[in-house]
């Protein structure tokens, strides 16, 4: 009963393998250009290291976002296609859940990940096997962060945070009491752990239905046309 976890929403892509709830291994790779190839190379490497064939995998969990648009699409596409082709169970995990789940339990946790150059993806969660949301997930512009914190912070004291260096740089002056864990990308083991618990609880998404959680509409510059027909 192996579950494969895929993470590709940031500059470090990751793959992890869980067996009966136990993390067997995880790898992170700086992928540069060829993200889909590197995810598959890493998966192959991890399977080989444990002497497993691809048939040993029974489920696949994937970080569905938010995060880098292209990375998100590639990770979700690979997860859906593996599930489709090998008849695997498919489970989605948000980037916020993947991050919160590797933090000490019971302490309100702010997850803050890079969005556009001027914004962050943020959410408060309570770490648990499946982290519990304490606020809505949001994309917040740098200048609006202090108002957002004002509205959403669950407690003035005793909170922790996990996120990117840029997120810390922006948030620390606004909320100095936070204890930080720095990451470059959501941890693949977080995707694996939340994915495993979801899967065991019977949750599944159809590969024909899963869509990335972009949290932002595509940017559009409309030429604006009315159609006339003969």
């Amino acid at each position: 009963m192996y579950l494969l976890a895929l993470e590709s929403t940031a500059n470090l892509a990751g793959v992890a393998l869980v067996h009966s709830g136990k993390l067997m291994g995880a790898v992170q790779i700086a992928h540069g250009q060829n993200l889909s190839g590197n995810l598959l190379h890493a998966t192959e490497w991890l399977l080989n290291r444990h002497g497993l064939s691809r048939e040993a995998i029974r489920a696949v969990a994937v970080d569905v976002g938010p995060g880098a648009f292209t990375g998100l699409k590639i990770g979700v596409m690979i997860a859906k296609t593996l599930a489709h082709a090998l008849n695997l169970d498919l489970v989605g995990v948000s980037a916020f859940e993947a991050c919160a789940c590797v933090m000490p339990e019971g302490t309100p946790t702010l997850v803050a990940l890079p969005a556009r150059r001027d914004a962050l993806y943020v959410q408060w969660l309570l770490p648990k096997p499946i982290p519990e949301p304490l606020s809505q997930p949001a994309m917040v512009l740098q200048h609006a962060l202090s108002a957002w914190l004002e509205q959403t912070t669950p407690a003035r004291e005793g909170c922790q945070a996990i996120g990117s260096p840029r997120a810390r740089g922006w948030l620390e002056p606004l909320m100095p009491a936070l204890r930080w864990r720095m990451i470059e990308a959501p941890p693949p083991e977080g995707v694996a752990q939340v994915g495993w618990v979801r899967w065991q609880a019977g949750e599944r998404t159809s590969p024909f239905q899963m869509v990335p959680f972009y949290l932002q509409p595509p940017s559009i510059t409309p030429p604006g046309t009315r159609a006339r027909t003969p």
Binding site: S36, N38, K73, I78, A85, V211, P223
Partner: protein, 335 residues
């Protein structure tokens, strides 16, 4: 190598096809034209998101229509260049994951190579005639290519500015006919007089090159000088006259190139090959010149995965394989 799956996501059509040898067993195209119509052109990020949503259902539909399970597929052909990178990577990720899961080979195919093979999808028994001349007239390209053999292409001429399809789309936008513009202009032109307006033709004598931006500007100037709103008849005349200017150049230059190269078969491929005036006039001209002309049915003129599968089938049959390191490229020459 019997059963091959083709995948195409280079622009705004999500497409999958199943071939058994050279026989098309299914070809599914989910067009996003309606989605992009509201913006008057393809929005790359929206196109890529649509591909992610539709790829797996389209793939399953292609298998269902072919009547085979995924496990029977022996090889995969996928467009990896040129096109919108964000769109290409979706199809490419799907192809690689399938190759991994099924443990079968895959090859990346140049989108224009797919268009070249589209002329031969409906005659699977006929050996591909070499050498032949291909005129690719699509949204992004206008090229004359001498095809010496499989994978052996010589670029004789290309557009120096706008592609033919791009000219259709830009003029249609100017006349507010909606997106995509080619089919709309084709329809309007049927009720118009092709000699009503005298638009310039760029012959670029002594070369096999094309140029359409001057024509587009001439249409713009003419429209600016006309009283508004344009009457339906004026609109139809503008469409017919513009279309005639494009078609005349395409027809004459293609026939001349075929004669100069001494080839007896001409293929006309790409979205603009669906144009009714182009089809009529090029058939006539080729008939007079003793050249056989092959034009795919409309469903194979515009983007489709069947043509990619056919081009890939020949590559796979020759033993070509790509590995997981294959990347998507926004631009890449055919030859």
């Amino acid at each position: 190598m019997d059963w091959v799956l083709g995948i195409e996501t280079s622009c705004d059509e999500t497409s999958a096809a199943v071939l058994q040898g050279r026989y098309v067993r299914s070809s599914v195209v989910a067009s996003q034209a309606d989605l992009h119509a509201r913006w008057g052109g393809v929005v790359p990020e929206a196109a890529a998101r649509q591909h992610v949503e539709r790829m797996n259902p389209v793939l399953q539909q292609a298998l269902d229509e072919a009547g085979i399970p995924l496990a029977r597929i022996e090889g995969i052909a996928v467009t990896n260049r040129p096109g919108l990178v964000g769109a290409l990577v979706v199809g490419l990720a799907c192809a690689k994951a399938l190759a991994f899961a099924l443990n079968i080979p895959f090859v990346g195919v140049h989108h224009l190579e797919g268009h070249l093979y589209s002329a031969f999808l409906t005659e699977p028994e006929r050996p591909i005639p070499f050498p032949h001349l291909a005129m690719i007239v699509s949204g992004g390209h206008t090229e004359l290519v001498k095809v010496h053999g499989h994978g052996d292409y010589q670029l004789l001429g290309h557009t120096l500015d706008d592609a033919a399809g791009e000219a259709f789309d830009k003029v249609a936008r100017l006349l507010e006919l909606g997106y995509p513009g080619g089919p709309a202009i084709d329809r309007w032109a049927k009720r118009g007089d092709p000699n009503a307006f005298r638009f310039p033709r760029a012959w670029l004598e002594g070369t096999h090159h094309f140029s359409f931006s001057g024509l587009k500007t001439a249409v713009l100037r003419t429209v600016e000088a006309l009283p508004k709103p344009l009457s339906e008849q004026t609109l139809a005349d503008l469409c017919a006259s513009f279309q005639q200017a494009v078609v005349e150049v395409l027809v004459r230059k293609a026939v001349r190139a075929a004669q100069a190269e001494g080839v007896s078969v001409l293929t006309v491929v790409g979205g603009v090959a669906a144009n009714s005036a182009l089809q009529t006039q090029i058939r006539e001209a080729c008939h007079e010149a003793g050249i056989e002309v092959l034009i795919p049915p409309p469903r194979y003129c515009t983007d489709n995965a069947a043509m990619i599968a056919l081009a890939g089938w020949f590559r796979l049959k020759r033993g070509e394989r790509d590995d997981y390191d294959l990347d998507a490229c926004a631009s890449a020459p055919l030859a």
